[in-house]
């Protein structure tokens, strides 16, 4: 009997061992809890953490900053800026209360009805409510309390130079991928590679914790073009005015640096504003200068004469009987437009653009040699430029050339070419017979020597150049290609257009030339499609555009005038 007990019966009734056992049991249960927690937190923790990560970690794609497109002087032609787009899950948003919906509509700056329409119009589980907002405006939506809306951060492409570069620089689609122009052809380099970021999200999908980069985005590389924004704008404006003046359908102009092969300007009309892309017309998107083929017409004549000179068949002063401007070849007849004299020298054949003259010279040449000669200038070969749809042009097969085909090829028919290919050919002549590879990228070093090709001997080139300088002088077909202060040279072209295999009364006026004639720096090629008002001749329609471009660009490049005399003073007088 224990000494503390007062009533033995009661001590028996309330035994101490039961109390101890209950406490002991409870503490044992607590110990089990601790062991279980230790198992979860010390042994099974990796599995549990993986399960957790699978539930709230997401890899979020981080878009790479798209590279800029710059002109040769660093002017921005295409740039990207961060923007935010707002998406919604219509199925969830429809369950919101009316107040929440109108609050969202207010924040988006639209009426509740319009918000309703947008939710109807989009996909069942995903639709964009607004795209490309400034990031500041989208910020309140990043922490929207209800489930169903979210913000995607993107980059928006902006083209500061607008329509002047529209076809060349091109476009990106709404997801930032290049679809036109250089944006498309250089996409892989410009786009870079998007990165991946591991983030922790709450159950509503909002990012609550930025964690580690899985893969850093590799930003796209900037592209520095050979183009000069100033020259491009000059060319574009001159083209635009000419097309308007002559009520033409379209036009194109290209400016090439004779010494480097760099393309300095590449302008097209009509054009479009690449920053506003609703209702795009395909005819505005086309880069006509490189994609459109046409029969060049008389512009080809200096090339033919060059071959005849090179082979020693004629000399510049060799007289050619032009037979009153009509030459019968088989049952076809070739005519001159302005036949005035009985005989012309080879130089005058070029100056007056005599079809009969060049046809007679051509008939004295080996057709295959002629074919190879044209081929050497790049006709029928795709220019190696990173642009979509660069056209190669077509030539007749060399083995079965009939005399009439040889005769028409002499003045640029029966052959198709782009304006760019013509400009390239003239670059070779202007550069004393050495053709340089063309490029759209700025050349910081001269082109590699093994890519230069001599096509004409220097002597022949100089003889042809002398002839072409006559074209812009009084008595030539393109006196309006003359420029104050600079000697210019070139050749007009006026080609009938082919429609459904027949020549129709529609013309394509062109002028390809270079300046200054004494030491050529620029080749400028101009093409005006279907001029309707007054005159359609290359000398009247395209040559003034050439003069406009050359007259503005050469002084701006600091090229010294090479034509002495009063006209120099006139050119130097400040314009009023």
């Amino acid at each position: 009997m224990e000494q503390r007990s007062i009533n033995p019966l009661l001590v028996l009734a309330i035994p101490v061992w039961r109390q101890r056992m209950v406490v002991f049991s409870l503490l044992c249960l607590f110990a089990i809890l601790v062991l279980r927690a230790a198992y979860l937190q010390g042994i099974q923790d990796e599995f549990l953490q993986q399960q957790g990560e699978a539930r709230y970690e997401r890899q979020i794609e981080v878009p790479a900053m798209r590279g800029r497109v710059l002109d040769r002087n660093g002017h921005i032609l295409a740039d990207s800026s961060p923007v935010a787009s707002i998406w919604a899950d219509p199925a969830k948003v429809r369950q919101w209360s009316h107040e929440d919906l109108s609050r969202l509509a207010r924040m988006l700056g639209m009426s509740t009805d319009e918000l309703g329409r947008r939710l109807e119009k989009g996909g069942r589980r995903f639709t964009y409510l607004r795209r490309h907002l400034p990031p500041d405006e989208a910020r309140p939506l990043m922490s929207w309390p209800q489930e169903g809306v979210g913000v995607v951060e993107e980059y928006l492409r902006f083209y500061p130079q607008g329509e002047a570069f529209a076809q060349l620089v091109g476009l990106v689609d709404v997801d930032g991928q290049g679809i036109e122009g250089l944006e498309a052809s250089l996409n892989s380099s410009l786009a870079g590679e998007s990165g991946k970021r591991l983030v922790v999200q709450d159950r509503r999908g909002r990012v609550v914790q930025d964690s580690v980069w899985v893969e850093r985005p590799r930003d796209g590389r900037d592209v520095v073009l050979s183009l000069d924004a100033r020259i491009q704008h000059i060319a574009f404006r001159a083209l635009e005015q000419a097309v308007a003046r002559h009520q033409a359908r379209a036009g194109g102009a290209v400016v090439i640096d004779v010494r480097t092969g760099e393309i300095l300007a590449l302008a097209n009309w009509p054009s479009y504003n690449p920053n506003r892309r609703t209702g795009l017309d395909l005819s505005e998107v086309r880069n006509r200068v490189v994609t459109d083929l046409y029969e060049p017409g008389s512009v080809m004549k200096p090339l033919l004469v060059a071959l005849a000179l090179e082979r020693g068949v004629v000399k510049p002063e060799t007289p050619i009987d032009i037979q009153g401007g009509i030459l019968r070849v088989g049952n076809h007849s070739i005519r001159d437009v302005h036949a005035t004299e009985r005989a012309l020298t080879v130089s005058q054949v070029i100056q007056k653009s005599s079809n009969v003259g060049v046809a007679k010279i051509a008939l004295g040449l080996d057709p295959k040699d002629l074919w190879r000669h044209y081929r050497a200038f790049g006709f029928g070969t795709r220019p190696d430029l990173p642009l979509p749809g660069v056209a190669a042009g077509r030539m007749l097969p060399p083995d079965s050339l009939k005399p009439i085909e040889v005769a028409t090829m002499a003045y640029g028919h029966g052959i198709s070419t782009s304006l760019l290919q013509l400009a390239h050919a003239y670059q070779a002549i202007a550069n004393d017979g050495v053709m340089l590879p063309l490029t759209l990228m700025r050349r910081d070093a001269p082109p590699p020597i093994d890519e230069m090709r001599r096509i004409l001997s220097p002597k022949t080139a100089r003889q042809v150049k002398a002839m072409m300088e006559l074209v812009t002088q009084p008595g030539g077909t393109a006196t309006r290609a003359a420029v104050n202060g600079y000697r210019t040279a070139g050749k007009t072209g006026t080609a009938h257009k082919l429609e459904n295999g027949r020549y129709v009364e529609k013309y394509l006026a062109s002028f390809v030339g270079y300046a200054p004639a004494s030491q050529p720096r620029l080749v400028v090629a101009v093409m005006i499609d279907e001029p309707k008002a007054k005159s359609y001749y290359g000398g009247a329609v395209a040559a003034p555009v050439f003069a406009e471009i050359v007259g503005q660009v050469l002084p701006s490049l600091g090229v010294a005038p090479d034509m002495p005399g009063p006209t120099v003073a006139a050119a130097q007088r400040p314009r009023g």
Binding site: E2, R4, I6, N7, L10, L12, A13, I14, P15, V16, W17, R18, Q19, R20, M21, V22, V23, F24, L26, L27, L29, F30, I32, L33, V34, R36, A37, A38, L40, Q41, G42, Q44, D45, E46, F47, L48, Q49, Q51, G52, R55, Y56, P145, V200, D202, R203, R204, V208, Q209
Partner: protein, 407 residues
């Protein structure tokens, strides 16, 4: 035979009076304020304040998000702080009430509890949350009768045992009347349904009876009976059996029945030894439902790690140890009602803590039980603090008695 074995294991020879307090008491005519069980007081205070911090941490995302809170992140913190202050006030008042008054009030309190449990079932009065009708809305707060019923049952079981001390060997006169009452209350609770409260109240009632010396044979019978009744309850309801077995393999259906438990387990796994840091929980970001109430312990595990878990468990162990020590002291000086009521309260806190934590760590099927002192909930915190005040009052009376002062 079993009893002799138990005696041998748990009752050492030469057992002395258990010490009432680890620190010595000065002699004097009247016990002064502060002369109560300080380890118990500080453990409860620590748990309550820690609960306040964890409720805030666990509820920020929910409060920020929910239209019911007006988007105020500190909504639950402020309410819980008000509840704690109210609870402290109620506890102070409770401390003033002598144990004999509680004893005389016991039948009425118990009746009041039963009436409230009936009231809460009436559709016009009781409020349904998550499919259970457990609350009576009183203006801005919801009153949960079952929380106070746990205290009343502690009193009732103690009073009953004192009255029936002579019949502790009798099944018919000692056990059956209380069993009948427990079944009555149990039916009311299961109608809500609140299986967790039923488990706690059964544990209190039969635990007090066990401590009061009810014949062991009857207890074995009871365990068999309870096991059978439990099996019937579980098997009678598809909902209950599914919830019961879901906890055994929550990964089998992690998006359905296992959703809450898998997220609770993930929270512990993420916490590791030292936790992700206070406020760093991801699970509380709307992944883990009831993070601030029933699954607060999981947030403790995630943010404070095993260290925090051990600290919380240790504090609860202190509460249990001190409560039972006080109860034992009271029984030794023949304060049977006080002693048994204190045992009841100790069983309540111990069992409820174990069930809540067991649910959180996936040892027990999911039950809607709060973690005492810590979980968000006004009725729960007020009832818990009031119960601790009863324990401290009983201890205070014990100290007075030891000095020969009759309270």
């Amino acid at each position: 035979m079993v009893e002799t074995l138990m005696r041998r294991w748990f009752g050492r020879r030469g057992d002395r009076l258990p010490p009432s307090a680890p620190h010595h008491v000065e002699r004097g005519p009247v016990a002064r304020f502060g002369e109560f069980d300080l380890p118990l007081f500080w453990a409860v205070t620590a748990l309550t304040l820690m609960g306040l911090v964890m409720v805030y941490s666990a509820s920020i995302a929910l409060a920020d998000e929910s239209p019911a809170t007006g988007g105020r992140a500190n909504y639950f913190l402020i309410r819980q702080a008000v509840f704690v202050l109210l609870g402290a006030g109620v506890a102070w008042m409770t401390f003033q009430v002598p144990m004999r008054v509680w004893q005389s009030l016991t039948p009425w309190l118990f009746l009041l509890g039963v009436v409230l449990l009936i009231l809460v079932l009436l559709p016009g009065i009781g409020k349904v949350v998550n499919g259970s009708r457990r609350w009576i809305p009183l203006g801005p707060i919801n009153f949960q009768p079952s929380e106070f019923m746990k205290l009343f049952v502690s009193f009732y079981a103690a009073d009953y045992t004192v009255r029936k001390l002579r019949f502790m060997a009798s099944f018919w006169r000692g056990f059956l009347p209380l069993a009948f009452v427990v079944v009555l209350v149990g039916v009311l609770l299961l109608l809500q349904p609140d299986f967790g409260a039923f488990a706690v109240i059964s544990a209190i009632a039969f635990g007090v009876l066990f401590l009061g010396g009810l014949k062991l044979r009857i207890f074995f019978a009871l365990i068999l009976l309870a096991g059978a009744a439990f099996a019937v309850l579980i098997l009678s309801s598809e909902y209950r059996s599914q919830r019961l077995f879901a906890f055994l393999d929550p990964w089998a259906d992690p998006l359905g029945k296992g959703y809450q438990l898998t997220h609770s387990l993930i929270a512990f796994g993420r916490g590791k030894w030292f936790g992700v840091g206070l406020g760093g929980s991801v699970e509380k970001l709307l992944y883990l439902p009831e993070a601030h109430t029933d699954f607060l312990f999981a947030v403790v595990g995630e943010e404070l790690g095993l260290v925090g878990v051990c600290a919380v468990v240790a504090l609860f162990a202190v509460v249990i140890w001190r409560t039972f020590t006080i109860g034992r002291g009271l029984v030794c000086v023949e304060q049977y009602f006080s002693g048994l009521a204190v045992f009841g309260i100790g069983l309540w806190i111990g069992v409820q803590t174990f069930i809540n934590m067991g649910v959180n760590v996936g040892l027990l099927p999911t039950k809607g039980l709060t973690l005492p002192f810590m979980s968000y909930g006004g009725s729960s915190i007020i009832a818990n603090l009031a119960a601790m005040a009863v324990v401290l009052r009983a201890d205070w009376e014990l100290r007075c008695l030891r000095r020969g002062i009759q309270v």
